[in-house]
Symmetry: D2
Subunit: 391 residues, 4 copies
């Protein structure tokens, strides 16, 4: 039904001055799969209107609220009606908006973290099951081709049994109290009422956690955490160090901070098994470094020789023509489009498939992770188990 036309996207959030909404729009546009046709961009009426106009939307598709948008879209015919809703608001709106969209019969592509807490995340999961609609989460880094290469190589046993899994996500932009100096991005991210339980933990610790579990194929079973707020007056954490124990015996650490002054966006994953290991760093995303017990280290390159079959469809350019963050994001939009076009709403393809995207499972697990970290940090217990009933 959708074949031969662009899919129609509505956006909730992402008005003037927002960061991630513009990224979503570029990522969706990149491969020609999507066109943005409707939006509820801002609770500020003027900003909402201006954003719609700048994006060339018809004024009757720009709504003051998501509810109004959903009602309008449900009334439109199949030649006009949106195919999905992208939710790019601050965290506190993720759950109510996702549930509203799902219950209105629309697939959802939501920003992370999934929700403010695990209870909200479970309510979303219920709505997904109830509605039968697709639900995708913007764990963007999963979209990088070399992340898929890493995952595929661990899965096929290149390194033997996995022993060590270390992930870190290091930013410095909140080293100063920007949250009290008028920076909107900083403001809501450090406000428990809008960000949820975790600060840095929810904002980027969740990315680190999802990446480690996604690539390693192992699940965290227990953790021990040190959670700190370095900037005086800040209400949420800005620095988190966690000891993690995985199923199968792998051990590691997870580190997330937003007060590593001078650092940019240092998401880095290192995994070692019996015979070798891998390293991937988001800031140089087109190289996957492999090291081996018995032969020289290799630099596997996007577009170069030796890539897994599941990596290839995530590439757009020949080797040496760098792809970046927007392309990684675009791979998630492409995967969602593919599923909507070819199969209708489902839970997505198997991991590694061109139609795979992060959905409920990492969403629920990351929220449980946030709660377990905070519970552990507030207690004198050495270890806190991480168990996440998936239903």
């Amino acid at each position: 039904m959708t074949n031969g036309r662009k899919l129609r996207l509505a956006m909730a959030g992402g008005g003037e001055g927002a960061f991630i909404g513009a990224i979503h729009r570029m990522a969706a546009a990149l491969d020609g799969d999507w066109e943005l046709v409707a939006g509820a961009f801002s609770s500020d009426a003027g900003r909402n209107r201006r954003t719609g106009a700048q994006l060339g939307l018809s004024p009757d598709r720009v709504h003051a609220t998501l509810d109004a948008l959903l009602a309008d879209e449900r009334g439109r015919g199949p030649d006009e009606r949106i195919d999905a809703v992208a939710i790019v608001t601050p965290n506190y709106l993720h759950a109510p908006m996702a549930i509203a969209a799902l219950d209105a019969g629309f697939p959802v592509f939501s920003e992370k973290p999934m929700a403010m807490n695990l209870a909200e995340a479970r309510a979303i999961a219920d709505a997904v099951r109830r509605s039968g609609q697709l639900y995708a989460l913007a764990f963007t880094y999963s979209g990088y081709p070399m992340v898929e290469e890493a995952r595929a190589r661990v899965a096929r046993g290149d390194f033997g049994a996995i022993r060590l899994i270390h992930v870190e996500y290091i930013q410095g932009w909140l080293s100063r109290p920007l949250d009290r100096e008028g920076n909107k991005q900083a403001e809501w991210r450090t406000d428990p009422a809008r960000a949820g339980l975790g600060g840095c933990l929810g904002d980027i610790g969740t990315h680190a956690f999802q990446l480690a579990e996604h690539v390693s194929g192992h699940r965290v079973e227990a953790l021990s955490a040190d959670v700190t707020t370095h900037v005086a007056g800040r209400m949420l954490d800005d620095d988190v160090n966690v000891l993690v124990r995985f199923d199968g015996g792998a051990r590691g650490t997870l580190r997330a901070t937003q007060v590593a002054a001078g650092e940019e966006n240092g998401l880095r994953l290192r995994i070692h098994g019996e015979r070798g290991g891998l390293e991937w760093s988001q800031m140089e995303p087109n190289t996957l470094t492999l090291r081996w017990l018995d032969r020289p280290a290799e630099m596997v390159r996007a577009g170069g020789p030796g890539l897994a079959d599941t990596t290839l469809p995530r590439l757009r350019t020949p080797s040496g023509h760098p792809e970046g963050y927007i392309e990684a994001f675009g791979n998630l939009y492409r995967a969602v489009a593919r599923l909507l076009r070819e199969q209708g709403p489902t839970d997505g393809e198997p991991i590694g498939g061109a139609g795979w995207f992060p959905g409920l499972e990492p969403g629920l697990r990351t929220m449980a992770f946030v709660e377990a970290v905070l519970a552990n940090a507030a207690s004198n217990d050495k270890w806190t188990p991480l168990s996440v009933p998936m239903r």
Copy 2:
């Protein structure tokens, strides 16, 4: 007139199996400035039709030839008619197509090299002057933010008078005779009838030349060249080494090869002046390394502190979220769109402006460079001057 709507693009070339056409489409789509509405994608009727359908074009906007496309578009009203033509064919079609489009009253965004030789390039220049239409050339690497940062820093004198300018463009994909093994990209690029005078020289040597002159602000005055074909049976060069002398006294080398087995797309520029120097490498495009006589080296980063005013509008993401080749390309499309929207056809903004793009001047100079290199290589003269009458 074009404000508030997407600009309409037609594409000549870029059918199934082509490489650069798809890049143009992604780059044009990225920022929401352009929509592809028409095309003459291939001389193969089936391939042409299929490409149009895959791209969601209306069948009446898909034409067997560019001439048919231009005639059709001239007959359409201002609410439908295309705003520009992208030419993404093999080299031998660049000049006739550009001239036809310009003379039909349409702006042109052409792949490089400008033409098969300098005479053809001059004919294009004549058509530009005759038609008054905009003419842009896909010297893509000029679109990288950190290339602009480099240019701006040289221009404002950070390094003092420039002494050394070295540029290299190193690929390995033609190390084997792919041109005789069914690789379409290799076939036409090594066929004088379709590629023009230069092989590697025309294909990537021109990029290197344009980048060096663009960033340094200096112009090559004389050169001495060694031009080689390493792969037996190949009809055009695959390896070029050139000594270059610039106005103002700077000296350097230009190296381009497509037989550096194992290399990817290694375009690298190094410039040194009296007080320091810079290094930029396309494969890690978001870092500009600066070295100084009297203080530690600096890594200036896309999105980080200390950027020039003219660099900032070329960025889409915060620091540490890598942008790449498609985004660099998108900056050229964005610049062309900006000029078409705001000012109508012109010669473009001053270098550094958000509406700047490479046009006639680098186009003509690169063609003259190709001819001078080949003339020098064929003679016993040490030095061949490079003089390019711009009219």
Copy 3:
């Protein structure tokens, strides 16, 4: 008294097939400060004799035991007698040998870890106080020029108050059970009777701990640890992850492993304060990377501009001529020589001085660290304090 002549060194351990003894000999020889004149290299009589002969020692200076050596040396006149003893044996001999040498009136340069446990280390400290002799510990990495640069910059406040201190020491050579395959280095390092309480923890975790405290100037106050043995049958740990809290409020992690298959000798330190941070990696020791909130990152280079006064005397070559591990080691030997020549036995110069070397304080603290890590890992307590009475 020693001015104008080389200092005379005796060595305990370091016979044929040993690793670190040869490093000590090269480091001591490098700057012409020392000559090796005596030794008790091995408990194997043949190996002992051959090592002495290969090193060109007079047979009467080669002894079956350190005790015999000490007795002999005490009987020699001031024109012959050794100036110091280097102890390069497996760990279990460090304490008894150091105490014997000190009590015999000789300065000691000992391999790390200081001893098998804290009690032994305290016995050494008592002998140092009793004898008044110099005691130096081979925390080699402290000898790198750029480690001194890092320390000096933290100390002078370049980064503001320190918030984050992360150190890791990653090796892979014990990924397989080499300890049961005839590798002598592996054998004793994994044998509690010869290595002491810690495996990887004692062997390289101590280096990481000392480096972090030395450079940051902060002391670990409490820790929480996960200690693992991944290789079946191994009696000591081979992988350690620790959450660390420092005085002054800095938080961080310490990671040490010898089963990161394919890794070499990855000692890396990262420290961040309010305004910026530093990164130093032992495998590229001549660069210190500095990142800043408000300006581009810098690469401070050995021999380059901008170095601290205390860094300069630790350099032997102009910038760009790499110095390495042996030179770092040589800086410790040079510092010991300097003190012995100029001042006689003391506690060493202030940190940063050309005569500074690691001695009792880091020795005792690292042994207390090993015990605290193991105690914490064996308990259900979240945090174990680290307090080290220095007397």
Copy 4:
């Protein structure tokens, strides 16, 4: 005869304030093969005396001239007499001193360039043949383990027939007229009467040339050069760019400059053959990067898996413990010692052998290279052949 004792070295030049003399002393001392016993360090009597005293030499072994030293040594018995002379003076003394030492019956280890010009170099070659003594040249970079690894891999055909050879040696320390500001190193290096025909060309261009020929196994047959002096008033070149053609059809460039402001000591070699290529950079000397047409790039590491048999004896430390410039230099001293001990004076072992060192052949070829570059630069000829009669 020399087995079981250190070899005795005399040094000509290398007094207080000199650079390379101290490096020679450290390199010779490193492995315990040599002891410095005599010297004629400076024509300044006070400096000469002080240097000898600082080095702990007996005053009767410190001489005002090399001639006096040689006469004295010839009169000493075999238990005292020196085994070799190291010549570490400015260039103009290399030839007369080498000839004097050789004719007095002593092996010579000389700094490069071999001499002021090719005629002088030939006179040295005559003296070598006449005397039958060993003659070694400090082409230090040949001593790096990973340079041997590179050479061995090219020689055994890993890359197929070699097509591209590019070498560069980039320094910045002469960007300012230090030669007229009291810098002694700069003074003599830019004075034709003391440095010889070439400035930068002789000082570092010769290193680049030797490295390229040594590793590639190919010999330059013809060249075309651009030779520049950028700093006003300087009498010798400070920037050289050369097109080079090798036997067997390989083409490339050689670049040497001392006015690349901010650069340190950037000697870098890149070689590509039919199937792959290598890259080695002196400033990160322990990695050899290999790239391949058909598989991922490899980082071959000093001490890591996969090394050639001839590389191993050039290593002193396990992988990840960096060795540097002094160790590379030490490998040459070790090779000379080995030959003197085991075989007596010879032409050295085959390239790759542990007793190989650079001698007459690269010495003569580099001097011929300097003359050919200058001849070409002074003419209008495109190509100047490089032919070097070896006798």
